[in-house]
Amino acid sequence: MRRESPVGAGVGAADTDRRSDPELLRAHVGGDRGAFDTLVRRHRDRLWAVALRTLADREEAADALQDALLSAYRKADRFRGESAVTTWLHRIVVNACLDRARRRQARPTVPLPTGTAGEPVATGPAVADRDTALTVRAALAQLSVEQRAALVLVDLYGYPVGEAAEILDVADGTVKSRCARGRARLAVLLGELGNRGGGSGVESTSAAGSGPPGDRHGGEEES
């Protein structure tokens, strides 16, 4: 079930163009100079929202969106209609966001512990109890960009797993995994999964769970 944002596609008063998205894209490839602009105006609010929530930084989101739309402008001739135009646009935007976030994270002088596929584990205030629990927005910002991107699409904006998978260019199972692991990490950050102390399996994405069984009950939310 897609959760339509009030600022979703096509609601701009200026959009009187009756051409469909694929028609606009074809027109653009064919040299119609206004077609791409019309297409972008239809979808840019949603694309902006996704970029903003994925990067949690306005400047970065603006840069990513600009990179993405320029890329879409230039690569429009490669669109083969294998997905909806909006899915294609989302994919370019989300990829631009992921690239930007990874470049920002990718220059540690000390190697970070990595999770799957080299993603660095977010550091920072790792654990909270109920009293100091982060807000959801702050907790989201602590996730890896891959997990956050999946949660933004699926849990915040209601994209079906299949479409999110197309946008992220991964398998459905990978989307489910990123969402599930992201939510588990959020649970720790929000104080919903108890205070694991150091070495919690949820934080350290490459290690196993914390301590021997039974240890987990120490520090759980009794406050």
Binding site: L69, L70, D99, S200, A207, A208
Partner: protein, 336 residues
Amino acid sequence: MSGQRPGDPEFRGGLGSPGDGATGGSGAAVDWELLADHLAGALAGQPAEAEVARRVAEDPAWATAGAELAAADTVVRGRLAELAAELAAEPEPLPPDVAARLDEALAGAGDTPDGDAEVRSLDAGRARRSGRLGRYRVVASVAAGVVVLAGVAGVVALNRSDSRTAGRSDAANHPMLGPAPGHSAAGTGSSQPMGPHATAPPTGPGEESGSSQPSAAPSQWAVTRLTTGTDYRPDTLAALLHGTASATPSMGPHVTATMPDDLSRLSDSAALDSCLTAIDGDVPGTPSVVDFARFEGSAALVVVVRPADGQRPWVVVAGPRCGVSGDDVRYRSQTG
């Protein structure tokens, strides 16, 4: 052979990282990530699904953890739904200043789609500036020598490699080069370890005209580059290791061994170096061969890595963003 994809429960951490938990048997430490995958149905159809289900059923620690995780997941979903409602109630449309900036950028973008040569060169520039050039590694492996092979219709044009290597010493003593018809470079006896040296990817027929400018920087990794035109599957990856990918009789002349568009960025030496360095962080060892090919239909760089500890070689499938976004690994399997 069993391979691994990101998202697979077996695919945890780089292979160089120690202490992979959940090693089986009762009393194994709870793996919260596996549990999360299990609860979300992400393990469906995989061997790990049965294993995790068994542990949850038989091990009290896992059962309790599963219940806690499920409860916490419900709460978190509720919190995310609240946030989603907030976002929907206070929509944040594109700010006017950002809109103006976009309009200006698009107005200056040119008339028609231009094959994004400029975009690609920006990527190559970013790869060079990514700071990875400081780590050089002396390549002492058997697969020595960088032989850049043009992509042409049909099989790999191994017999053109001589003209490309500019008098450099013998080509890699790699099985890929052995059976090449009429090719004798590989038969020149023992290989020599090659230090880093410059490569110039040729723009032969079949490569798109917008090919990125070759990097003049020395390569950190001495690998044999191939463009076999193969569309690999998990069960055919071993062909690259055994040197049979290009010799498959079924390929025939209709197969055009061209560089997939999405991989053009990686033909640049600096970009390829960044990618191989990223792969090395995941699968430590020495890459010997890279094939600019496809995996299950999608453009992919397929790399043979020989682990430093002498274990069997890995074949790693990396996507087009390898080196820009981690190693963008799509699949890997240990062959041999």
